[in-house]
Amino acid sequence: MSTVPVPYRVIDRWDETRDTITLRLDPVGEPLAPFAPGRFAMVYAFGVGEIPVSVSSIPTDGGVAHTIRAVGAVSEALCRKRVGDAVGLRGPFGTGWQLETARGQDLVVVAGGIGLAPLRPLIRRVVADPRAYGRVNVLVGARTPADLVSRVEIRRWATAYTGVTVDHPGAYWRGEIGLVTRLLDGAQFDPGQATAFVCGPEPMIRATARDLVHRGVAADRVRVSLERNMRCATGHCGHCQLGPVLLCRDGPVIGFDRAEPLMRTREL
């Protein structure tokens, strides 16, 4: 694996929300090894730095897409990139969702805000191969309607149940209002035969995963994607520790059976 960033070029770019964009990237020369859903790259903005970003699309014709919210120096620099601009990528890193272990199961995919981005390649694989899985449920929550990513695509996914809810509806929202956990009542799954994939803000992950376990889904079948500061992604910088877990190496996707006690300890 390359230890230095590999040049990629922005071949498409679109706004997801007011502070979130997606960059579609193609390699300038040799590509990185193929990404799997849930794995991540260190995305490098020249002269600014690197951040870890999960892959938000794995196009069949090569390349990769990353969905980035402008929250710091590097993410802001990346959000300013235009078509034709260059970025660097290192990766792929991390565990991924390991969708292959959920074949034949009912699926419960739960996203909060930009947490839908790392789940998008997983959902696309699932809806492209519906016979491999049981009932598919996609539950999406956001703060406001304006914070929903992939809003149009969500409605196109053929699922047993798709729910979208927002905390603060505004004047024109006609859908569900409230926390994403409320949508679990509408989801169709056999808890004993289900695998869940959850990504979003930590309080949302905890509430959702606890609810799923409470409904009978085995904790190790509730996979959560967690986030910590990362500098190297190769297990050497120490920043991404969550107790015993090095999230770049043992995560970012881990089972809630491991995550629950770690998430329960404040400031771990």
């Binding site: 020249f46 002269g47 260059a86 500098r231 190769t234 297990g235 910088c237 120490g238 771990l268």
Partner: protein
Amino acid sequence: MPDTGQTALLDRAGLDALVAALTADGRTVVGPTVRDGAVVLAELDGADALPWGWGTELEAGRYRLVRRDDGAAFAHTSGPQSWKSFLHPQREKLWDVDRDAAGELTVCPARNEPPSYAFLGVRPCDLRAIAIQDRVLAGGHFRDDGYAERRSGAFLIAAECTEPGATCFCVSMGSGPAAEAGFDLALTELIDTGGHRFLVRAGSAEGARILDRVPSEKGDTTTSDAARSAVDAARDRMGRAMPPMDLRALLGASPEAERWDDVAARCLTCGNCTMVCPTCFCTTTEEVTDLTGDHAERWQRWDSCFDLDFSYLHGGPVRASARSRYRQWLTHKLSTWHDQFDSTGCVGCGRCITWCPVGIDITEEVNALAEEARS
């Protein structure tokens, strides 16, 4: 690494010849020397630069050099540095990037010809620390290439401990005072009626090869026995000890201990303990650009889990309180290190105690946690 069984006796001139032989092989010899009121690690041009006749007096938050009458070269204990300063340096360039007129990026890994080091006077605790950093930086799925290159070329000469300091607790961590493995040569300093001499054992073929090139006398059983008893005596003179229990389990079960608040009230979160710790490996990165704006460099430098920025995620640090940061450091060192790298992260060198500006003592903290767990 097997002990080849080859032993020899060197005097002060022999030690100098050893340094000369290593230097003649193109190696950079690094060892302890007195500078700025401390025994520091620096490049040595001969054995004369060793701290002959200097000892150290240590306490929590205190380090002083003291004169010794016996002229010993290795009677000092751990100084402010460790060998990680050379194997895992404070600053290291990772890569250069150039941006051309068309905006294309060319990324080149930083190419540093690593010096071929010979470390003279590695304490058994520090030998263990090097083995631990080997696991962390070169033993996983990804390898820190810079570290691996520097490490694989390094020649290690251990110096067994016969004068432990008041902040030492290697015996309770199982990492000293004897050098058992992981060295090319191991010295034991002896000053008695037989004179001032060094018993040398070869621990590798390369060690034996170098030893053959140095004028020496053959080691005899009397000297070997004297060396053994000097090291055994050191075992009984440790200044401190960890409680004799499963520290991994204790720390793993103590995330909500009240003791964390107590230590947090004293801890300045300065990070000194992480800088002097021979196993602490954490780093951060810096992006540096030149005035043209078309050339950037990526640098890695030591970081500390006591720094607020260490755990920063958008919105703020994960570990904002001193309590959580001290808990992270100590729990990682003694417990979660096992989960991550299959070993402890503490070797009992005592540096974190000596160099803590407020004298926080890791053994006292762990004993207090053990007491709290019992009650």
